[in-house]
Every structure is written in structure tokens, then in C-alpha cells.
Symmetry: C2
Subunit: 344 residues, 2 copies
């Protein structure tokens, strides 16, 4: 039934080489003659060999895994981020362990647990700068730490210039006739886990409108939790205050989707009567012709993984900050392109 898995030993025998050599090809060591490597690889193939990660961990004295602490919210953003991280991590034979922060209790428990010490060669913090939860502003770990979608002067950080994104959004919508509205995504109620990206986007947006001399009164800002239905409510709210045409910066693609949905239900022509601009550049934005401020989430993830890998390999320079810039992508929802109106 549960047939014993082949080990490095059998591979070595079959390939007619020593254990060490098999291990070397496993680890992409330079010092292996190409033909030897090929022979070993073939033996693995024939045997259906797959390395036992646990043995590797104990022999190597490392866990070969990186943990990521991320908010317990399931969005396309984190899907993409994880994709980007894993891309470079798996290549180096590192696993990625996900730790959604289910509650503050669990966070502490985890960070202070002995599990962490064994499970992790490095730590990635997504979106939250958790350092303020701990004495001295440092996480209770001696492993390298990298922040992504967040910033902290004490750690390597990879982040998007959300303020710039907001300005791009403002400059884009300022070109159009009609009133300008925006939807701000609410922060989490738990003050301990605050992140500021949405506020930064709005600040940049307001700044660009001010520069362009376009009015943006407080009642043109609608606040909602991150949901598609929030976008629907927002558009209704805006339409109580103005008549088409109007322009909406949705603050997040998911919310923008709701604006599109509601516009469709109300029979408004998207791109003309209602112009909608999202933020994120998620794949689904393209599918529905949504204009958006795109952020290179996968690239940010890859970069964060790279910085962490550096540290794990011994790099000890001062904290590095990598800033990514978003770009404006104009599609049908702001009147660009073939102009085919959005049909939900």
C-alpha cells in the first residue's frame, strides 16, 4: 500500500555515484560534471524520487521555509503577493508558510512560540507594520524580517507609492467634465492593525484635484469597507448628489467593480455617463474594461523575497527601502479604448 519512498541512497546506487553527489545536484551545486548531473537526474526520474524536506531541514540545520504574516482578509492582492513571493522562493527550494493573523492573541502566541523559531529562516510581514506591538519596536525573533506593502526604518521594506497613485488618479479624472467623487476604503476597526494605504491614496488624489483646481468637497467622499457592494452603495450615494456625467475614483478595484455593477443596473453608460477608475490593476480589471492605477504586486512580492534571501545568506547592510511606482491604465471605464460600454 504505502510503498516506501525512494531515498537519496537508492538514487546514488542507481546512478552509480556517491550520496554527496546526489545531494549536490539536488542543491544545484556548481561542482558537478554535467554528465554526472544528467545521470543522477535520470536516476531520480526513473525512481520517482522526491526529496524528503524534513531530513533536509535537520541535516541542514535550517528550516528552508519562510513565514509570511498577513492580514486575515482574502483579496486578490494577497493572492498576487503570494504568487510573487513563491516564485522566487521555490526556485531557491524554500517553502512559504502562511500565517493569516486571525486575532491578536494568536499573533502573539505565534511570534513568541517556539514553533516560529524552528519553522522560519525568515519572516515576511505583509501590510502590517507589527513592530509597535513589541518592546523596543523589534519583533521577538533573531531571523531576518522584511516588510512588504508597509514601511519601517528598522527593517527592509518594499512598498508602493500610494500617494503617487492617488495623484495619478486625480490627474486622470481632472481631465473630464462632471463632478468628481471618490470612495475611501475603511481601515480595520482594530487600531492595532492599522495600515494607511487607502488614506495615502486619498490624500494624493485630493492633492492632484486641488492642483488642477477641481472641487472636491467632503461630501464627495464616501467611505466603506472593502467589498463590491460598498461600490454599489457609493454610486447610489453619489447619484443622490449629482447628475451624470460623474467621475468616480474607487480606491480599490473590487470596489470599482461594484460601481460598474450598479451603473449597469441603473442603465448608465460606463465611460461616458459614469467614469470609473480603480486601484490595484488586478487581472479582473482588464476583463471588465476597468481603468485602474496598477500596482506591480507580484514584482513587489518577488523583490521582498529577494531581500529576505539576501539576509538569510548573510547580508548585513543597513535596512533597505524599495519603492515601487504605480501606473495609470486607461480602459473603457474612463472612455478609452474601443469604447464598448461595460455590460455586466
Amino acid at each position: 500500500m504505502k510503498r516506501k519512498r525512494p531515498t537519496i541512497h537508492e538514487v546514488a546506487t542507481r546512478a552509480g555515484v556517491g550520496l554527496g553527489t546526489v545531494s549536490r545536484v539536488l542543491n544545484n551545486h556548481k561542482a558537478v560534471r554535467p554528465e554526472t548531473r544528467a545521470r543522477v537526474l535520470r536516476a531520480m526520474e526513473e525512481l520517482g524520487y522526491t526529496p524528503n524536506p524534513h531530513a533536509r531541514r535537520i541535516a541542514g540545520g535550517r528550516s528552508y521555509t519562510v513565514s509570511i504574516l498577513l492580514p486575515f482578509v482574502a483579496t486578490e492582492f494577497y493572492r498576487r503577493l503570494i504568487e510573487g513571493l513563491e516564485g522566487v522562493l521555490l526556485e531557491k527550494r524554500y517553502d512559504l508558510a502562511l500565517f493569516p493573523i486571525l486575532s491578536q492573541n494568536r499573533l502573539r502566541r505565534y511570534l513568541e512560540s517556539t514553533t516560529l523559531a524552528y519553522l522560519t529562516d525568515g519572516l515576511i510581514l505583509a501590510s502590517y507594520d507589527l513592530t509597535e506591538h513589541f518592546d523596543g519596536g523589534r519583533l521577538p525573533t533573531d531571523r531576518p524580517v522584511v516588510l512588504v506593502d508597509a514601511r519601517n526604518p528598522r527593517y527592509d521594506s518594499v512598498y508602493l507609492d500610494n500617494s503617487l497613485g492617488g495623484r495619478l488618479a486625480g490627474e486622470c479624472l481632472a481631465r473630464f467634465p462632471g463632478a468628481i467623487f471618490a470612495i475611501k476604503v475603511e481601515e480595520e476597526p482594530d487600531r492595532a492593525f492599522r495600515h494607511t494605504v487607502f488614506a495615502e491614496r486619498m490624500a494624493g488624489f485630493a492633492e492632484a484635484l486641488a492642483t488642477a483646481g477641481r472641487p472636491f468637497p467632503p461630501e464627495h467622499l464616501y467611505t466603506t469597507r472593502l467589498s463590491q457592494e460598498g461600490g454599489r452603495l457609493a454610486l447610489r450615494y453619489f447619484l443622490e448628489r449629482t447628475s451624470p456625467p460623474l467621475n468616480v475614483f474607487a480606491g480599490a478595484d473590487l470596489v470599482a467593480l461594484g460601481v460598474l455593477e450598479e451603473a449597469g443596473r441603473l442603465g448608465l453608460t460606463v465611460g461616458r455617463e459614469v467614469r470609473v477608475l480603480g486601484f490595484d490593476g488586478h487581472p479582473f480589471a482588464e476583463e471588465v474594461g476597468l481603468s485602474t492605477i496598477a500596482q506591480p504586486v507580484e514584482a513587489m512580492g518577488a523583490k521582498a523575497a529577494q531581500l529576505l534571501l539576501d539576509r538569510m545568506q548573510g547580508y548585513t547592510g543597513p535596512p533597505r527601502e524599495v519603492r515601487f511606482e504605480p501606473i495609470l491604465i486607461e480602459r473603457e471605464s474612463t472612455g478609452a479604448g474601443a469604447g464598448a460600454p461595460y455590460v455586466p
Copy 2:
């Protein structure tokens, strides 16, 4: 800096016993004299010893971890479920590895990967019955599998009687004057990952209303994605069709929260003008006085873990089905209790 961690060896020396004995107390083996155990425990304490899980895994020939595949949605339900699972798993020194199903591709990749084989002594599938994705209706693994919040005749299953829950909801609201409405939470668009709990709730609900002779026309049903804003939209929709008092079965506590929120904004008295009944019994429901059909999520998780543990310890009986029953909890939102109206 990174001081070497103490091992079982040092513990043995300090306690003046053999390696095997230390291992035995670690594993709660019966065959250890209480005083010996105490001595070993004290040595561990003094040394700050914590076992190295990787060594354990390779020596024991098992991973001592259980994987859970769960939908990539972050809800209180899964938080509670995980809590319940971990409660019993950690006690047996098993870890729980989370695998949110980010995409169908990743699911396949994961299930067919060699990682799974090493990482997992058992598999828990939450909410999705993924068996139909695979040939022969069986997952490509020889490890024990348990479903929770889902059912499949081929595997142990732990589930809630959602239909009964719907009936309880119907019977509750049928007692009140005023029209009766319901909110159905939408299934995921991806047909491959369908689960039917919301449909079952609604079917039970409709059945109970029919039995009670209360009308429930199609236009009294509002469908939305799972979000608080969805509840807000639903209440607006209902109020376009009737005048208070009205009664709303929200299908999920989160959605019910939105109904309460919107009622508050509109100045309606919750519990009198608008009666609201949720489903789930999440902790936050109590905080806001929300009546609800409570499901024992933690207990379901614990039970699933227990079933899996049985299997991992060699139990080979036929698939078992464990059915849990929800209960009605009446609070202010349906007029029970002190009657203090809900204030958001």
C-alpha cells in the same frame, strides 16, 4: 548571537537519564515513573529546551502535521473552525498547516505535489467537497481525509444540518406580524468550488414558512455576496416593497450586521419595526444583540480533528458522518431580552 538550542541530549544529561526517557516524557508515554518525569521536566525548564519538530518528523517517519484546505475567504467561520481544530490537534502534538485555495491551479499543484506527501499525515477539507475534481472521486493521496462543513459518502464528514437551521429561522419569524424577507448569500461564481449551505438554509426557511402558512414570494428573497454592505442593500430593497414592521432572515451573521447598520441609519427600531435574524452564532452577534441560528463551529472543528486522529492511529471502519444541529438564540434584534433597541 544565535545561541545553539539545547537538545534532548543535554536534557538527558542534566536530568541524569537516558535519551529514550526524555523522548518518552516528551511524548507522554505511560511508562515513565512520575518522579523521573518530574526530573526531566525540570531539566527542560531550566535549559529552556524546546523540541525540534524536524528531527521528530524524520525520526518518527511522520510529519506530525495535518493540512487543511479551505476556501480563500476570510470569515469568522473559518477562524472559529481553525480554533476548534487546533484545540485538539495541538494537544496531540500535531501542527495544522493552512492551505487557502487561492486558485484551482494551485489546488491541483498542491494536491499532486510531493510536498503534500511529506507535509501531511492527514487532510481536512473545509466547505468544499473537492472529490469531484479527481478521477474516481478520490483525492490523490493515501492519507486519511476528513470533510468538515461538507459531506461525501466516501470520507468521514462533519457537517451542520443547515436545512434544520433554515426551518428554525422560518418558525421563529413566522410568529411575528409583518412581511417576511430573506437574504440568500450567493455561491461562488466558480462552479468547481460550489458549496450548498446557503441554499440549504433557504430551502429549510421556505419550507417552514409554507408549513406556517406565511407567504414568501420570490421577490422577498434578495441575493448578495457575503458582505455587510450586502445586508444594507438588501434592507433598502425590502423597504421599497413593504412598510415596517418587517422581518428579515439574513442567512449569515455578517449580512445581518449590515441589515442592523442600515436600520440604524434609517432610524428604524430594531426588534420592533425591523426584526433581524442571522445565522452562524458568531461572537460578534451577541455583542450587538443579534438573534441568530447558532452553529457550533468550534465543536465541529474539534470533532473533525478527532475523526482524523482516529484514522491516523489506524482506525479503518467505514466512513462516518457526524451531524451537528444548530440552535435558535433570540436576542434584542427579534424583540427578545431587555428590548433595548440596537444602537450602532
